[in-house]
Every structure is written in structure tokens, then in C-alpha cells.
């Protein structure tokens, strides 16, 4: 038995130094390429005389000096995006549980969900603004929620339903109840699907919120700030808004990835090929 080589437990066992070292090694090429791109941009772009593409230093300068305008807008957009993410996720999970529990619900809801996810939902933004009040941030949340809803629903249904047939036979041979099957097999089986969808949805929520803002409402939001900056010829400011929005989306994504690691460490370790 001792001759068998056994892989060490997964990466969530804390080995900080090697973890940091391997992270640096892994991302170094990407960081390097990014820096080269920025340098080339800085050097080449001003000579083309294209105003929509200001040099990175100018964008960074806007980020640092226009904080008073930028940060309140960023907070408001973050609020709409995360609110929408929450609403869309709760609704999506609720519908998915119903669809996986009742065949009738599945037959009705799933084709609808799949069909609706083919609709260019962004086009509904002006309607949602009208419906829920253009000045109410709730209208932006609904745009974000709508984009989030479909990937969450479809993935959670798949996770609940796509259980190995033999696992069902096994549970049946134990005379397990439906509740036991749900708690011990279907829900744990669903969690990786859920987190995959949630990570995609985080980005979608920001897209939804910002597009909703384009069509009117409060002016202290990232979407309106982009429009205002461009009409005033401040492209450095518009880019600063985009950078800020990206940062908010990336941080939200990382928070979700961190929670995933806490909730389903076994899956993260399998996926990342540890051991």
C-alpha cells in the first residue's frame, strides 16, 4: 500500500509561498504582453492623431484626478449591477428548482427559457426604463437581472438533472427519499454548474446595468458618464470610466471565484488538475 504514490490533497490546503510563486509564474506572460501593449499604445497612438484613443498615461491621469466625478458614479453602477445579479440569480435558481422538480414545469419553462435567451435582451433596455421608471435604479437592475436570469436557470437545471444514471440507481437501492436524493446528490452535483454560470453572470450584470444607463436616468452613473464625456470631447475620461467599470466587474468576479473555492473546494481542485 505504501508503494502507491498518492497525490497530495488539493490546493486549498494552505501552502502560501508555492501558491504565490506558481500564480506569478502562471500569469507572468500575460502581464508582460499587457505591459508591452500599453507601451506601444503610449508610443504609437498620439502620432496617429486619433482623438478617441488617448494614451494610457492620460487615461490614468483622468482616473486619479477626476475621482470626485468617477467614484460616486461607479458606486451607483455597482449597486445596480450587483442588485440585478442578486435578483436574476434568485429568480433563476427558483425557476430552475421548479423546472427540475416537476416535469410539467420543465416542459413549459425550459423551451421558453432557451427561446428567450436567444432574444437580444439588450434591446429591451428602453422598455424596462419606461416600465420601472427611468430615474429608478431598479429599472437598471432589471436589465441586469434579465441578462443574468437565463444562464443561471439553464445551468442550474442541467446541474440538478444531469446526474450519473448509476448514481440514481445507487440511491434507489438505498431506498433514499426524494429529499435525501436532492440534498445529497442533486444539489452538490449542481453547484459547479451554478458557479460557472454565476461567474459569467457577474460580467453580464455590469453590461446590463451600463446599457440600461445609456437610455436615461440618473447622471451619476458610469453609462451616462461615458456619453457625457464623449459629447464633451473628453475621451480620456470616457476610457477612465471603462477602466473603472472593468475593475468593478473583475473584483466582483474574483469575489465569486473566492466563494466558489470556499463552497466547492473539491471541484476547484479537480478542475485545476491538482493531484
Amino acid at each position: 500500500m505504501t508503494t502507491l504514490r498518492v497525490p497530495s490533497p488539493g490546493p486549498w490546503t494552505i501552502r502560501p509561498r508555492t501558491a504565490v510563486a506558481s500564480a506569478i509564474r502562471r500569469y507572468l506572460p500575460a502581464v508582460f504582453v499587457f505591459v508591452v501593449l500599453m507601451v506601444v499604445w503610449e508610443a504609437v497612438v498620439p502620432r496617429t492623431g486619433r482623438r478617441p484613443l488617448p494614451p494610457p498615461t492620460q487615461i490614468a491621469n483622468a482616473l486619479l484626478t477626476e475621482g470626485a466625478t468617477l467614484y460616486p458614479a461607479a458606486w451607483n453602477t455597482l449597486y445596480s449591477a450587483l442588485g440585478g445579479l442578486l435578483i436574476g440569480t434568485i429568480a433563476g435558481v427558483a425557476v430552475a428548482f421548479m423546472a427540475s422538480r416537476w416535469v410539467l414545469a420543465r416542459d413549459v419553462l425550459l423551451p421558453l427559457a432557451v427561446g428567450a435567451s436567444a432574444v437580444p435582451l439588450i434591446a429591451l433596455a428602453p422598455i424596462l426604463n419606461n416600465w420601472f421608471g427611468v430615474l429608478d435604479p431598479f429599472s437598471k437592475m432589471m436589465m441586469a437581472a434579465l441578462l443574468v436570469f437565463f444562464p443561471i436557470t439553464i445551468n442550474v437545471v442541467r446541474g440538478l438533472v444531469e446526474v450519473q444514471p448509476q448514481a440514481l440507481e445507487l440511491m434507489r437501492s438505498y431506498a433514499a427519499s426524494d429529499t435525501q436524493l436532492l440534498r445529497r446528490v442533486r444539489i452538490p452535483n449542481m453547484l459547479p454548474y451554478f458557479f460557472t454560470a454565476l461567474k459569467v453572470s457577474t460580467t453580464l450584470a455590469f453590461i446590463g446595468a451600463i446599457v440600461g444607463e445609456f437610455f436615461g436616468g440618473s447622471t451619476v452613473v458610469l453609462g451616462r458618464l461615458i456619453l457625457k464625456s464623449i459629447s464633451g470631447g473628453r475621451f480620456d475620461m470616457a476610457w477612465a470610466v471603462i477602466v473603472l467599470g472593468s475593475m468593478a466587474a473583475i473584483v466582483s468576479y474574483l469575489v465569486v471565484a473566492f466563494v466558489e473555492r470556499l463552497v466547492i473546494p473539491w471541484y476547484v481542485s479537480m478542475r485545476d488538475g491538482a493531484g
Binding site: M1, P7, E169, S269, M270
Partner: protein, 284 residues
């Protein structure tokens, strides 16, 4: 067939059958085609403590028969009695342990939590659960791997964990569906010996589906040979190799005779003691 054959036989067997199968038929519909007759007129008695192998070419219904015994498939006709009750009652009484070709371990549970699963479902107290899990992992020689996740184990170790799980609640019957079919020959032979050791120690009745002739002969007290289309029992061969079986058993003359007998039977020349009268109307 004598119409009175359902009457109680004159010589009552010393040990009552654990499994009693009478006239079981099962047909699966095939979309846009003729239905598949998976089982036809199956009659089989299995006695307590026996090790029965079901062998036959693919499509002969051996896995279906195993699932009929375990009440995972309901037959169209006939009866299955297990421990003197219906197969369904036996299932809800948790008389069965199941082992499949795939280990079917849950990725989100450690080895010990996987083995403890049936005990959890049966509301066995935690302390008792821990004791049983330790005992079972010891039995299948996986002590020291309690905290590992399934993907950290080799295929053979995963299958041992699934055997430990099947035995954890002391089922009276162990149903094994080609459990070693996906493993290499060396691992397979080692696990064969291990299953025999477990069988001797626990006294569990085992029904074992395989398509390996040597495996069936080495393990079993009786080999049930099945033939396809429709799935029927073609022959039942007593395996009278002395117990306990060891590596030497695989090299004895009797072993080779029995392997030949099973092979002949699979080719349609039944030689076994319990040979059924085959349909006179020819084959195919």
C-alpha cells in the same frame, strides 16, 4: 416442462433460498423497431452464502436480471422473492448492496464520507458510522485514505471504496454489475481475491455479472450462463473448486475443465449439472 413443477419439491433444501425467481419476463420497447426481449422465462434459486455469476454475451440480459433482483427494473411477468418478501420490500428494507462497473463515488465526498453515505441515509448515529467506516476501509485495505477525494485515487482503489460502501450497512445480498470490467488484468485478479476474502468474512450472498469466463469460474459457487435474443438461462454450472480459492486454484486441472465447460456452454453446448432443456426448434 411438467405442469406441476411449481409444486414444492419432495426434497426440501436445507437452506432456504435468498432469491427465488419464477417465470420472469422483461421486454424493452425499441423506438421504431421490434422490442427487445431482455429476459424470458427466467427461473433461478439462489441460496444463502452463494456466489453466483451471471455470464453471457452482451445483450443476453444479465445486467437486466441483476437489476430485476435489486428492484431497479420491474419485470413484465413473473415473481422475484428476496429473503421471503417481494424485491421491492427487500429494497426498502435495505437488503441490497450495489456495486457498478463505474465506482459511482461522489466527487464532493471524501472516501470516508462516501462509504458513510448509506449509513447516513439510514440514520445510523455518527459514532457508530465512524466505527463502521473504519472497519470497512480496513477490510478493503484503504486505511489511510479516508480523507482523500475520489479523483485522488486510482481506478482500483475507487472500486475498493465502492465495495466498502456497499458492505457498510451489512446488506444480505451484494449485487455487482461487472465491477472490475474497466480495470486492468492485474488489478482485476487482485480485487477478485479481495472480494473472495470479503465474501468469506461477511458471509454475504453475492450475485456477480461478468463477461470474463476465468473470473466467473474463479469466484463462483455456481455460474449461470445466459444466451441472448431472447435473454434466457442456457445453463447453470456448479463450480466445485475447493474453498478457499487461491492463486493455485487458477492453475488446477479442474479450473481449466470448468473454464472449458463454461466456454462450451456459451457456444451453445451446455454441459453443466443444471442444464435447462434448450428449445428444440434450433438456434437463431
Amino acid at each position: 416442462m411438467n405442469p406441476d413443477s411449481t409444486a414444492i419439491p419432495a426434497a426440501v433444501p436445507a437452506r432456504p433460498p435468498v432469491v427465488r425467481i419464477r417465470g420472469v419476463d422483461k421486454t424493452f420497447p425499441v423506438r421504431g423497431g421490434a422490442p427487445t426481449v431482455a429476459l424470458q422465462g427466467i427461473e433461478l434459486d439462489i441460496t444463502r452464502g452463494e456466489f453466483i455469476s451471471l455470464i453471457g454475451p452482451s445483450g443476453c440480459g444479465k445486467s437486466t436480471l441483476l437489476r430485476v433482483i435489486g428492484d431497479l427494473i420491474t419485470p413484465d411477468a413473473g415473481s422475484v422473492e428476496v429473503n421471503g418478501k417481494s424485491a421491492r420490500a427487500a429494497r426498502t428494507d435495505r437488503d441490497y448492496g450495489m456495486v457498478f462497473q463505474a465506482p459511482v463515488l461522489f466527487d464532493w465526498r471524501t472516501v470516508e464520507a462516501n462509504v458513510a453515505l448509506p449509513l447516513e441515509l439510514m440514520n445510523v448515529p455518527a459514532s457508530e458510522r465512524a466505527r463502521r467506516v473504519t472497519e470497512m476501509l480496513d477490510l478493503v485495505e484503504l486505511s489511510g485514505f479516508q480523507r482523500h477525494y475520489p479523483h485522488q485515487l486510482s481506478g482500483g482503489m475507487q472500486q475498493r471504496a465502492s465495495i466498502a460502501r456497499a458492505l457498510a450497512f451489512e446488506p444480505t445480498i451484494l449485487l455487482m454489475d461487472e465491477p472490475f470490467g474497466a480495470l486492468d488484468e492485474m488489478t482485476r485478479e487482485r480485487l477478485n481475491a479481495e472480494v473472495l476474502r470479503v465474501w468469506a468474512r461477511t458471509g454475504t450472498t453475492i450475485v456477480f455479472v461478468t463477461h470474463s469466463i476465468p473470473e466467473a469460474v474463479f469466484l463462483s459457487t455456481r455460474v449461470v450462463v445466459m444466451s441472448p435474443r431472447p435473454g434466457r438461462i442456457a445453463d447453470v454450472i456448479d463450480i466445485d473448486l475447493p474453498q478457499p480459492r487461491t492463486d493455485d486454484s487458477r492453475e488446477s486441472d479442474r479450473y481449466f475443465e470448468l473454464v472449458t465447460a463454461v466456454r462450451e456452454s456459451l457456444r451453445g453446448h451446455p454441459t453443466g449439472s443444471g442444464a435447462r432443456t434448450r428449445a428444440e426448434g434450433g438456434i437463431g
